[in-house]
Symmetry: D2
Subunit: 310 residues, 4 copies
């Protein structure tokens, strides 16, 4: 039986205490917040989850705790890519043992590689991987924009789908078109603002960072897109744009998405917002701006769809 990936799959932030230690209470509350919010899956140790920035001890603890808590209610996807092939396999094996549903695979991000080298890599990796896998296109971080041919080869090798975080809508539409005869192959956008059109045009959902903060908002937007309900889409999209213009806009560093989301979730009282090096969490004025933004959004979203338990 094949795993079907669709809907809202938040790239789960990793709650931390003091840059080093897992905030286990915060993590439990966060996962409950997300499941109560109706999300369709979880993606841990992705970019928003600061996966590559964490030591392996903490990565393992996180995988174990999330898998235990979720207990197969929804699929758990684990970012496993490391620049070392061995480390990738080893964390994937651990994830399998803990009950994770799939591994998320990006190019091994240190060495620039060609399409041919990427295909060879996936051939070897898919052979050895103990889990089903999903591809992850993240050129801003991996330096490689996965071509349609590479993705096609990955599908042949068993990939369940592709999460595209390139920000290139035309590329995402090409993926939808290319794989329209393989409806079980999921095309999922990593640009949350592209969620409605991705679904309207035949895609399967979004890995939406903002769903860490307001899961119900994103689930409602997904539902509206599935139902072709344009009025609701337009109403809910306004909130997403406001999130973009306020929460994601207190800093111009490339790391602002991660820090903003963690800070906003912390403002909601769910977990701590420490981040690992090379990032630094928001404090002072920046945190205040996010507090105001979250409060305003809570008021405005109330009418249509509220975050859970809040």
């Amino acid at each position: 039986m094949t795993l079907s990936l669709k809907g809202i799959i938040p790239p789960v932030i990793t709650p931390l205490i003091n840059n080093r230690e897992l905030d286990t209470k915060g993590l439990t509350q966060l996962i409950r917040h997300l499941i109560d919010g109706g999300v369709h899956g979880l993606f841990v140790l992705g970019t928003t989850g600061e996966g590559p920035g964490l030591g392996y001890k903490i990565r393992k603890e996180l995988i174990k705790r999330v898998c235990d808590q979720v207990d197969h209610q929804i699929p758990v996807l684990v970012g496993v890519t490391d620049t070392s092939f061995e480390n990738t396999l080893s964390i994937a094996e651990y994830a399998r043992e803990q009950g994770a549903d799939a591994a998320v695979i990006a190019p091994p991000y240190y060495f620039p590689i060609s399409d041919g080298e990427m295909m060879g890599y996936i051939e070897h990796l898919s052979d050895a991987l103990p889990l089903p896998f999903v591809m992850y296109n993240m050129p801003s971080h991996t330096k490689m924009h996965l071509s349609l041919s590479v993705i096609e080869r990955c599908r042949e090798l068993g990939a369940l789908g592709i999460k595209d975080s390139s920000g290139d809508a035309a590329y995402c539409y090409s993926l939808i078109d290319k794989f329209k005869d393989y409806p079980e192959f999921s095309v999922i956008t990593g640009t949350e603002l592209y969620l409605p059109e991705t679904v309207l045009y035949g895609g399967h959902g979004a890995v939406a960072g903002g769903a860490n903060i307001f899961p119900r908002l994103f689930v409602a937007l997904y539902d509206a897109a599935v139902n072709h309900d344009l009025d609701t889409i337009n109403t809910l999209r306004e909130h997403l744009i406001k999130i973009e213009n306020t929460i994601y806009n207190v800093d111009q560093n490339p790391s602002r998405y991660i820090k903003s989301i963690k800070c906003a979730v912390s403002v909601l009282g769910i977990c701590n917002d420490y981040v690992v090096h090379p990032h630094r969490k928001f404090t002072g004025l920046q945190r205040q701006q996010i507090e105001i933004a979250v409060k305003t959004l809570l008021d405005e979203i109330k009418i249509t769809v509220r975050p859970c338990n809040l």
Copy 2:
């Protein structure tokens, strides 16, 4: 007493058997080949050493064996940067215990970061690092071209020097100019073809991949530059250009330098040329081309400067 970095410091390839295991006999022969060749230091686990592609077990074994064999005859520099701060510190600590002389630090290559974030990162890292450190500018792999201000901050924080592999000669000249009043701060080019002008204009040497194959050639070229001997420079540079046009030119993948150097060293009978994923070693026609190139170069270089023991 401060470590002084200058001369030819090869980015040592990592001899492997079957993509996984250290070729220990090959490694011993390689280190002997380099020391006999007169190199002034060794840089292990860099890009050419496939550092980020190796598992930590093999990285540790390599560090231990190299430090043991070198036994402080020349400085051993170890590439320690990992996307995880903890892993970076942990391998640095291991390197210190084995007797390594310095850690080589690049930006933590997964997350795009700003100059300010990089400075903050180095502030924290330099505080915790158990070893002296050298900066490593490698924008093609790390996505970050270290600005002069970042390097200046690193120098203040204790950096011994900078290895620049940007390929941007003007930037390297700016480094030399900026730090000319700090002669103990080493400016070392990672573009082997820029060795003579880097030294002629006040720089300190080169991390030259080709020195894995022909260490004496590079040492002789360094000496010629130090001695302002233009005739010898021009003669020896011809060999470097030939290496570029032949050995480094059998493939157009971005990984060709690593594979070419490993193949050529293997052709010399020194060690195996397996590479780790995502790369694949040269075989068939490509290996034959390198065999011919190495043979031709051996004949031509003979008159002026031969590789060691060959």
Copy 3:
């Protein structure tokens, strides 16, 4: 009375004979084809119109003929940007004399310039321009992605709108959001595949190259978007994707869009498909592929919306 820009505004190709001479008969037929097709405006001498590639004699002849034939039935926009400020003003003045409705302004594309320099440029230009103007964001050709601040300054200086050909949907959505309180300021996508979502989310239309071939298809898609008719949108979008996958896909040169559109229009018997240097028109197999693609599309589009007079 302010000119209102919305709907489908084809970037009109420039019919030529023998790379040098205007195909006047073809031009007349093309303009009739477009007006009969229901387009809402014409944009001549843009990128698709090979504007910067044409000599000024031919550019003037084209402007005159198009303005005469259109005779104010729909707005005529003229691409006037030249690397020389004087030439820009001089062709704009000519366009005004012939009755053109607006000038289209891009950054002066040879010199890389900063945002501040671009703002200064527009301040001087808008002062001297004899015509209303529309901004044109075309970073792949001009090397400059116009920032929201630059566009805001242009709006203050009188710009009627912005045509965005960056391919960056998120940027286009930011434009829509930023200028939502200025409904008379038009946000028009230059990526034809983004037409529906641009309009659904509050934008004003598209400069769609494919509308040279199938104007009614694009007008119908625009109408469907205005009417929030998702079923029709999805049906018509299939044709756009087919155009992308066939007509625009016979060659991988960056110039393929221009050559493909010209060839397809020529296959329809409307005008010649010569192109100016540095491009070369399709012949042989490539033309055959486009013939087949056009024929197939004509058959398929028939059911929903046919090109005019065909």
Copy 4:
């Protein structure tokens, strides 16, 4: 008899009054300053000459005046590339009539083109050009880094040489190596700081913007390189680095080189420093900084090589 290009060929600035009109008196003094300074050729209407930013009337007046004044004492090269093929040919014909020695050809900079398209372009252009021609590699402005294959094809078609302004020293060295058996094919760097190594390694000279200010300094540096006089090279290079750190460093806009050079030449009393749109000349504090820099450099350079008539 073939034109031989070597030595210092300044990219001559275009003296202007009030952004529009040629500063004819200033131009006469500038050309005298350059010829007295011993330069080996002149390149007018290049990037530093703001060629693409000028109207054709002024370009023609400049060509005529420069050719008349120079009267074949040294070669005059004219930048003729326009995005329109016709305009390129027409200004080249004018240049020939006035007695110019060669046309300088860059890619037609608006449309991104492939190598194959560039080769086709040069085939057609070289057929029709009434003058010998030199290639101009300027990727920061034209978006195209001319490949070695394209340059080889240009050489076959009659190109006299290549001026490389890519800033990529390794590429320039590849050109020198590739064409070493064609000594009459000139490899000239457009990065003035690379002048010594370019000549030491077999190249032919430099198109040095700073030679507008201090022609004798650059000629002396060229002579030192030809004579393999490393001590003099190192002494004179210090002045170039000082120019870089002071005169070229009062602003961070990409246009700073043009504005700085014009301002410095104006400070020397040679001509006005107006620039055409989209640039703006330095005033106030920026001009003061350049005044100080020029004065300091005049004092320092005095000992070794002074600018002419000063």
